[in-house]
């Protein structure tokens, strides 16, 4: 099999998977069409996107950003202010603002990112949270623009009440596809390789000639811009935002949790994490009312993941399947061709691939 043949096989398989994914996304709100179900889908798809966007910086580059709530909130407020200018009855037009908001956030964030990226690991995490609190404070204080503690109302869209949530779902789904697409392009390109190198050993990578500053910045602004896009759609959906919840430290942590749970180094990991945690969170938040219980649940889940599944569900499960497959193959070979028992492959470190 030539390399070219293998690569086109890969591309066809990848394209098929992408098509299947999009088909599933498109069909879901028709399969589960009750209001509360579509609402659940909106949030789950949003979390899947947030976790994937975070993963560009936190997983691929290895920079543990804990303040992504800042970008989410920026997107939310940008949408609130923008949609407010468009006025009531704007319908679908606010959705057109979303790419502008993503781009705008990426540009605005770039200089701040430059400062933050001078630090690493623990210091970086600390500063990213600090930035989030700073932006939250701005939202509280610049009352003329943001409404302060009283919040901002967005125009209510004149969508049909029976299928009110559907446009928002599709907006989120499109964003998710874009995000996954961006992740995939990054992974399979030189940028992905460079980010991997930064994650493993940044100084050595720089020594080898990798443009570490550029690739880090790129990962950061991509991550921030995409996160802001989700925030923008969320704001339009919720129709009323306040600083305390548009800039929610818990939201940052949830995205991190989902990426960790699913597997920071994989493409589908963050989505898996979101699908596993998201509906449960919405369900608990409504049914059991008391927000305290799901704080404890989050914490417990996070600790479990860190101690039992440090690489995440997908890589751990993949490793498990790998070992099972190899054991099966080796048993079969031992049976049929005793002279060709394959060696146990060394499990890939950290499930990287």
């Amino acid at each position: 099999m030539t390399a070219l043949h293998a690569e086109s096989r890969l591309r066809r398989a990848g394209a098929a998977r992408a098509a299947a994914f999009m088909a599933v996304l498109a069909v879901l709100p028709f399969l589960f069409n009750q209001h509360w179900q579509v609402n659940l889908l909106v949030f789950t798809v949003m979390y899947a996107g947030l976790a994937s966007a975070w993963n560009l910086l936190g997983g691929y580059a290895g920079y543990p950003a804990l303040g992504h709530g800042a970008f989410f909130g920026l997107g939310a407020y940008a949408m609130a202010i923008g949609a407010g200018h468009l006025g009531a009855g704007a319908g679908y037009r606010p959705f057109l603002l979303v790419p502008l908001i993503a781009l705008g956030t990426a540009i605005v964030v770039a200089p701040i990112a430059r400062v933050l990226l001078r630090t690493r690991a623990v210091a970086f995490a600390v500063l990213s949270i600090t930035v989030m609190f700073m932006v939250q404070t701005l939202a509280y204080n610049i009352r003329g623009l943001t409404g302060g503690s009283q919040g901002l109302a967005l125009p209510i869209a004149p969508f049909d009440a029976a299928t009110f949530e559907r446009p928002y779902y599709f907006a989120m789904a499109v964003l998710l596809v874009v995000t996954v697409g961006v992740c995939w392009v990054v992974r399979t390109s030189k940028l992905g390789l460079a980010l991997n190198a930064v994650r493993d050993d940044e100084d050595r990578a720089r020594g080898l000639g990798v443009q570490t500053e550029t690739v880090k910045l790129l990962a950061f602004v991509l991550s921030a811009g995409l996160t802001a896009a989700f925030g923008a759609v969320w704001a339009y959906y919720i129709s009323y935002i306040v600083p305390g919840f548009a800039f929610d430290p818990l939201l940052s942590l949830v995205a991190v949790l989902m990426a960790f749970l699913g597997g920071r180094t994989t493409l589908w990991g963050p989505i898996t994490g979101a699908v596993l945690v998201g509906p449960a969170q919405q369900y608990f938040a409504y049914r059991f009312g008391a927000s305290q219980l799901y704080l404890i649940a989050y914490a417990a889940l996070f600790l479990l993941v860190i101690y039992l599944l440090p690489d995440g569900v997908i890589p751990s499960a993949s490793r498990y399947l790998d070992r099972a497959r190899t054991a099966y193959r080796s048993r079969a070979t031992r049976r049929d061709r005793p002279d060709q028992v394959p060696m146990e492959p060394v499990p890939p470190r950290g499930g990287r691939g």
Binding site: Y140, Y283, R287
Partner: protein, 413 residues
């Protein structure tokens, strides 16, 4: 690239896993469907988003008691049109986003028959639009800020005698009614950033400034602020004659304690919220309450429809004294009374009937005889209340006063 390909292939099964988990989540989370309105012997379910936790929990707590008391009372009398009333409370954690989600779920997932509004203008503003979208009547106990009525919703009705701006006007009227030599010369306006407090403060400030009372300090602080010491430091330093403070409750207590500790008293002290809480004297010290002004929509002494029975039933169910009943309980009770009256007057209890019926006529409740304009703003007026001799009593206007206004005793020393 062999490693990546195998990972890519291996993670294919993630997609069906995702779907399966999603489907499982969706199915397991399916709610119990409730009977639709119309079946005559099924319970009448009223959904309410309550601030059971979060910043507003202290203030909203009595509302839950008020609702429950009303439900018990009306059920003891046979229910509404033969149907027992069942209340469904959901916690919104004082979060407007959660309140919106709650009403969405109550209406579209739980299919409740009716809803009552949440606590505070902050939560009412977004929640009312949701109810309106689905055609539900929105009788609400405590959202009286101008922004609530600016929504121009035909389904909304505030169960209080007047919108909050009326209390602002009442106090401004009182100050301006004083002879010029007794009036304050300077004033300070610290307020929390909240639709309720800032609207009142802004109105009072506008009227008093126009009358020549100088503003020495004006500050809006984030609603979540708990440490009021910088505000107190500033007040003690600027020494205004009058302090008009936009507070929810805890901040009022903090301000009073701060001024007591600094041994300084203004001549006039008005809080939008806090002094009308029955626990206020125990929080600031019983010796420190007299002379403090506030506004309220209900007092135990009011001779309003069903008030005596309400107080009696409340004490029977929850203990305590009449003075210990929070106005929030009365507001909630009044919401229920309105439903009862609609049922009595029209023989029906569906949302469309409620909306059309309440827009005409007068509706007597413990909160007073209520009427509304087209957008739910009540047409009555508020009184100024003051702590006099350990009781919160109306002192202005004279027609409604149960006591004369007193001067604020000094806290110095």
């Amino acid at each position: 690239m062999r490693t990546m390909r195998s990972t890519v292939r291996r993670s294919v099964w993630a997609v069906p896993v995702c779907l399966a988990a999603l489907a499982a989540g969706a199915c397991s989370a399916s709610p119990a469907s409730s009977q639709g309105a119309g079946r005559s012997s099924s319970p009448l379910v009223v959904g309410v988003s309550m601030s059971l936790s979060g910043d507003l929990a202290d203030l909203a707590g009595p509302a839950e008691k008020g609702y429950q008391l009303w439900a018990d009372t009306v059920n003891a009398q046979g229910g509404l049109l033969g149907r027992k009333v069942s209340l469904k409370f959901v916690d919104d954690a004082s979060n407007p986003t959660q309140a919106v989600t709650n009403y969405e779920n109550l209406i579209t997932a739980d299919h409740v028959d009716l809803v009552f509004g949440p606590f505070s203008s902050l939560l009412t503003i977004p929640a009312a639009s949701v109810a309106s979208r689905y055609g539900y009547a929105f009788i609400e106990p405590s959202g009286g800020a101008p922004q609530v009525f600016a929504l121009h919703l035909k389904n909304l009705f505030l169960a209080q005698p007047a919108p909050i701006l009326s209390s602002a006007d009442a106090f401004a009227d009182y100050i301006l009614s004083l002879p010029v030599d007794q009036r304050p010369k300077t004033a300070a306006y610290p307020t929390a950033d909240d639709p309720f407090t800032s609207a009142i403060i802004a109105r009072i400030q506008q009227r008093l400034q126009a009358a020549g009372i100088k503003t020495v300090y004006s500050q809006t602080y984030a609603a979540e602020t708990v440490d009021l010491s910088p505000v107190v430091t500033r007040l003690v330093s600027d020494k205004p004659d009058l302090i008009v403070s936009g507070t929810g409750g805890a901040d009022a207590v903090a301000e009073v304690k701060g001024m007591v500790q600094a041994h300084w008293t203004p001549k006039f002290l008005f809080f939008t919220g806090g002094p009308n809480d029955p626990t206020f004297p125990s929080q600031v010290g019983a010796g420190n309450v007299n002379g403090i002004f506030s506004s309220t929509d209900w007092i135990p002494q009011a001779k309003t429809a069903g008030n005596a029975a309400f107080i009696q039933a409340y004490i029977a169910k929850y203990g305590g004294t009449a003075a210990g009943i929070d106005a929030a309980a009365a507001e909630a009770y009044a919401c229920g009374q309105l439903l009862q009256l609609v049922a009595q007057r029209t023989g029906k209890i569906d949302n469309a009937t409620i909306i059309s019926a309440l827009h005409s006529g007068t509706w007597p409740t413990v909160e007073g005889n209520l009427t509304w304009d087209a957008y739910g703003s009540p047409q009555g007026a508020d009184d100024v209340v003051q702590w006099v001799g350990g009781q919160l009593l109306p002192v202005y206007p004279q027609s409604a006063a149960l006591a004369s206004p007193i001067a604020l005793p000094s806290w110095a020393g």
